[in-house]
Amino acid sequence: MSQSGTGPSAVEYIQHHLHNNAIGDGFWMINLDTMFYSWLTAGLLMYIAHIVAKNMDPEKPNGLQNVIEAVVEFVQQQIKDIFPGSNPLIGPLALTIFIWVFFMNAMDLVPVDLLPSLGQVVGIEYMKVVPTTDLSTTFALALSVFALIVFYNIKIKGLVGYIKMFLFHPFGKYLIPVNIIMTAIEEIAKPVSLGLRLFGNMFAGELIFLLIALLGGASMLGLVPQIMLGSVWAIFHILVITLQAFIFMLLTIVYLAMAHQNETEDH
């Protein structure tokens, strides 16, 4: 698989691309490339929103304003379908999660060697361009949502009501230990599955891009298989990116809606 003897082997290429640019170690390891690209996408989104809001025209909306209005209305429709009552935090939260996760995922569509090789010209050894392929990012988002779930549970149901939910769901008052275990597992599964779902999808997508790039280096037809396969996979990956961002947003709304429901004592 190696070229003229000076290139890295296939496994080394993949492992090099899967390595984060980190400082510190253990718990305090900070992945600088993840931080940079997540802040970059967030800053870009804030700048675009600011520009469009400043030049907003209610009579004749131009292109970008139309797009943003469509996205906002889409998110609003989801919230109206699912969320009972009213909470001024949910709308901006859902919108932020949706478009930020979508833009972070969309960094995966940039050709896999482009930005890292530009970085190597400047002297940066490792660079992972997609922040959501880092477990830290996805779990940061998932744990923030989990903190909000616990906060709203306690705020709406009261601390007593929240503990009663642990004790008497789903079985009844004679099976309290079983109830505690099952409800605790259900509550913990929410952030764990949110974080791991997004991470798994993005990691698998990036890995397949890397394997397709290896194919380009190794095959006799040169770049042709890489371009064809890469385009096909990138088109499929557009669907996966959007879907995963949408699922994250929808599950956030669903979990917060569940936290806002008052207990109906039916057992």
Partner: protein
């Protein structure tokens, strides 16, 4: 040296089984979801857009666990924890 070879060989077989199971689960799950989707369209053709949205959404939810399993398999391939444990035990 032999211990490392045994560890890597067994890890390779294990990763193969893990990936087969993940692929099988994912394919069966999508098959069930899409078959119900087709039945729903057959019963009420005018509901196709909503059903398509729901199908993609539940498909994405179902893909979560095969993806997690795939992530763990890739972890075994690229940063084998068993090999590290054997190295630590041999070095100690």
């Amino acid at each position: 040296m032999e211990a490392m070879a045994i560890v890597y060989g067994n890890t390779a077989i294990a990763v193969g089984i893990i990936l087969a199971a993940a692929g099988l689960g994912s394919a069966l799950g999508w098959g069930l979801i899409c078959s119900k989707f087709l039945e729903g369209i057959a019963r009420q053709p005018e509901m196709r857009p909503q059903l398509m949205g729901q199908m993609l959404f539940t498909g994405g939810l179902m893909e979560a666990f095969p993806m997690i399993v795939l992530g763990m398999a890739m972890w075994f391939v690229f940063a084998n924890p068993f090999a590290d444990a054997v190295k630590a035990a041999a070095g100690a």
